[in-house]
């Protein structure tokens, strides 16, 4: 692989991975904020409003970072992947432009009102502001997933006279079956990040005996919403996603599972390191026949291994792909276990007193971030060597005139800048958690946009 191509790939991978730290939390929290505001509206209890205000502050910091790190993503299609953009822009430009026109305007308008306009808007108006922020962020997620889904499974297009890919069916693009399942999977992942963060902050308060009423609210809300999301993530979402990959990207499936040879009754690898040269797994720990069953619902079904496909169609990072997938699935399984136990203890009325379970919830906070990142790595590494599956290879899509030197220059720039942002993010979020949702904090709140409230 030539150097410029590797740097351009790393450039996109690094910036998008860092970016997605923020939207996965804000999309999940947006839903939880609507939940808290609904509770406030229904019960008329100020407790829920204070809880919502606390999370709105954390939401605000993460949202701002999501915005500033998101802008580079839209630019990089053109700057680093010019041939891809020129060829496919008529299709994926549609969904990207729709994201700007339908979700960014909505989000940016109502976020200001949600964060600064509670007094002015009144109870019901403020609920609607929360609702529109949720709607905007989830629409935004849809347009991005639809864009990626089209690259995974191109539909609704035709080839133009000069090899460019033109849109042939608008609804085909938006209602791509792949997009719908991938969207469900992505959003459930985001909800789990939101829930684990909320439950972890709650557990932290309970373990340190501060803000305990809020601690209980956060733990309960996080666990109850989280357990539903975690179970749905496995079935039907993950199951459907897996079958779609088996049908449409069989090479990817074989690489994800570390399956080199074609066999009847293929095993499911739980552990083991792929050795691509020898075409085998080292020290494998497998469940016999399981992969055949999960994929085709038959114990002895035939599953094609990597050897069934030409080597130039194999993903180029088989080991990394295999581990990404296994980390995602492994963590997803752990989430179900943790949340089901926590929900059961909640039902028995023992959760708030159980220090070990609160410790588990608190320390789990990085895990959903890792799982979501590993999931996206599975999708994107799994699509290789294709940029648009079956239509355009990654090596063909890169900007022809931007050399490795200039790409390294900007990648290093982003790395430096994002390191600083990461430190500021941790500092500011920790300060908010330290300060907590104290009962007397609804006064003395004055931000840049105070005029909305004072007006």
């Amino acid at each position: 692989m030539n150097e410029a191509l590797s740097v351009h790939r790393l450039h996109f991978a690094f910036t998008v991975t860092f970016h997605y730290i923020f939207p996965q939390l804000t999309m999940g929290l947006a839903l939880l904020l609507v939940y808290l505001k609904t509770k406030a509206l229904r019960t008329g209890d100020e407790h829920w409003n204070r809880a919502a205000r606390f999370w709105a502050r954390i939401f605000g910091i993460n949202f701002a970072l999501g915005v500033v790190t998101g802008i580079p993503m839209e630019f990089q299609f053109g700057t680093n992947w010019a041939v891809f953009s020129k060829t496919a822009g008529g299709v994926i430009g549609q969904t990207l432009a729709m994201e700007g026109v339908f979700s960014f305007f909505l989000e940016s308008s109502f976020l200001g009102l949600f964060l600064f306009g509670e007094k002015k808007l009144g109870r019901i108006g403020h609920w609607w502001a929360a609702f529109f922020v949720w709607l905007g962020s989830w629409l935004s997620g849809f347009f991005i997933v639809a864009t990626d889904a089209w690259m995974q499974h191109p539909v609704g297009y035709r080839l133009g006279p000069n090899g460019e890919i033109e849109l042939a069916s608008f609804w085909g693009l938006l209602l791509n079956k792949w997009a719908l399942w991938q969207y469900v999977h992505t959003m459930l992942g985001a909800v789990q990040t939101g829930c684990f963060v909320m439950a972890a902050v709650g557990a932290f308060y309970l373990l340190t005996s501060r803000h305990e009423a809020y601690g209980r609210t956060f733990v309960r809300s996080g666990v109850l919403v989280g357990v539903v999301a975690a179970v749905l993530q496995l079935f039907p979402s993950g199951d459907a996603q897996g079958k779609m990959i088996a049908q449409n990207q069989p090479t990817t499936l074989a690489a994800m599972e570390g399956l080199f040879s074609t066999q009847d009754g293929a095993p499911l690898a739980i552990l083991g390191q792929p050795d691509v040269k020898k075409r085998m797994l080292d020290n494998p720990l497998v469940v016999p026949n399981m992969l055949s069953f999960l994929t085709y619902r038959k114990w002895k079904a035939n599953v094609r291994g990597l050897e069934a496909f030409p080597e130039n169609e194999w993903p180029d990072q088989i080991a990394l792909l295999y581990f990404s997938y296994h980390v995602m699935v492994g963590l997803g399984t752990i989430f179900i276990a943790v949340l089901v136990v926590a929900a059961f203890m909640l039902w028995m009325g023992k959760l708030y007193k159980s220090r070990w379970m609160l410790w588990v919830l608190m320390l789990s906070v990085p895990l959903p971030y890792i799982a979501n990142t590993a999931g996206w790595m599975t999708a994107e590494l799994g699509r290789q060597p294709w940029l648009i599956y079956g239509l355009m290879r990654t090596a063909q899509g890169v900007s022809p005139r931007v050399g490795a030197g200039n790409a390294w220059f900007t990648l290093i720039g982003f790395m430096g800048m994002y390191s600083v942002l990461a430190m500021l993010w941790l500092l500011l979020v920790y300060r908010e958690i330290e300060q907590g949702p104290g009962p007397d904090d609804e006064e003395s709140r004055e931000i840049v946009g105070v005029a909305v409230a004072a007006d």
């Binding site: 500033v68 020129k86 700007g100 305007f105 800048m417 709140r445 005029a451 007006d455």
Partner: protein, 348 residues
């Protein structure tokens, strides 16, 4: 259909310049018109609830450009690789500065973010102006349809141009002054007291610079890009566009003299729209002129497939009606002068 989309993208860019222009300008003059923490919070409060929405016009315009003219997006963005990456860094710095500033009250924290906010706003104005000037001047496109420009070469207008040469720097400086004026008029409109006074005085001083540079840049542009003269000869009615700009600029001085704050701001809008539409009119039907005219990208050469453009008109119109609704609502809720409580520490 291509020409319709050419006009729609130009419209979105014009809206972007009018809206984000005033908050970039307010940022560029931030340290000049606001000295104390309370005064600085006044300037920030004047753009607080709207700057993010204003910036969305850049993203929406970029996205629209992407799907309507994929070849232009690909060629332009990869050719302007370095300046665009720097624009991204500046946008990140600027957005973070506005967001982070009020979180901690400290004599090292706030002045640092104030400085970064102002410096990044100032540089963004120069970069955006220089980018526009690159489009007017033409870029070293060849038969492949791609090009790459280093940041600078020898600062001349030869075949091997850089992003920065004497012409693009000149336009960058004009853009900075024009947006500073625009921003000062906005700050004047939204504030009271010393900030209001300083913004007003600043406007007077920068106005002369804008007048002088507008004259120089106009003359230079006719030399640099021959297509402009050709278009004004072919379609003489186009002269109304530069006249709009002149009217706007005169209007700023007149209304400023009468202390009509709102009208002065709208006069500045008129000036910016006049300048931008003149440029767009001057380079049409090219969307990206080449130094060698043979390889220029035109509307027809860069546009996407007919079906996509047709479908786009439908959802784009619907989306714009919604966006206009949100913006009206937000700017209405935010009408009038901002009030900042000097006793509050401004922590959120």
């Amino acid at each position: 259909m291509g020409t319709i989309w050419f006009c729609l993208v130009a419209l979105m860019i014009a809206i972007y310049v009018l809206l984000d222009g005033f908050d970039l300008g307010a940022g560029a003059i931030h340290l000049l018109v606001a000295k104390t923490d309370t005064e600085r919070r006044q300037v920030l409060a004047s753009i607080g609830p709207v700057w993010d929405g204003n910036e969305v016009w850049l993203l929406a315009a970029g996205g629209t450009l992407y799907f309507a003219f994929p070849a232009l997006y690909a060629s332009g963005f990869s050719g302007f690789y370095l300046p665009l990456m720097m624009v991204l860094w500046l946008l990140i710095l600027r957005g973070s500065s506005i967001e982070f500033r009020n979180h901690i009250k400290s004599a090292v924290w706030r002045p640092l973010w104030d400085f970064l906010f102002s410096a990044s706003s100032l540089l963004l104005a120069v970069f955006l102006g220089a980018a526009l000037a690159n489009v007017v001047r033409g870029v070293p496109l060849d038969s492949s349809g791609y090009f790459f420009e280093p940041l600078w070469t020898d600062f001349r207008l030869g075949e091997e141009t850089g992003i920065l040469d004497w012409y693009t720097i000149l336009v960058g400086v004009l853009t900075l002054l024009a947006l500073m004026m625009h921003g000062a008029l906005w700050v004047q409109l939204k504030t009271r007291g010393p900030v209001n006074e300083r913004a007003r005085n600043f406007c007077w001083r920068v106005w002369w610079g804008v007048v002088a540079l507008t004259a120089i840049v106009t003359g230079a542009s006719f030399q640099v890009q021959p297509q402009i003269k050709e278009n004004f000869v072919t379609w003489p009615f186009g002269i109304v566009l530069p006249l709009l700009a002149v009217t706007g600029l005169a209007g700023v001085a007149v209304e400023l003299g009468k202390r009509a704050e709102r009208r002065a701001f709208f006069a500045s809008c008129l000036y910016l729209v006049g300048m931008l539409t003149s440029v767009v009119f001057g380079v049409y039907p090219m969307v990206l002129p080449a130094r060698n005219p043979l390889y220029s990208l035109t509307v027809d050469g860069a546009k996407a497939g007919a079906y996509g453009l047709k479908v786009g008109i439908i959802w784009w119109s619907a989306g714009m009606i919604l966006a206009a609704g949100y913006f009206t609502f937000v700017y209405r809720s935010f009408a009038g002068k901002v009030e900042v409580d000097p006793d509050s520490n401004g922590h959120d």
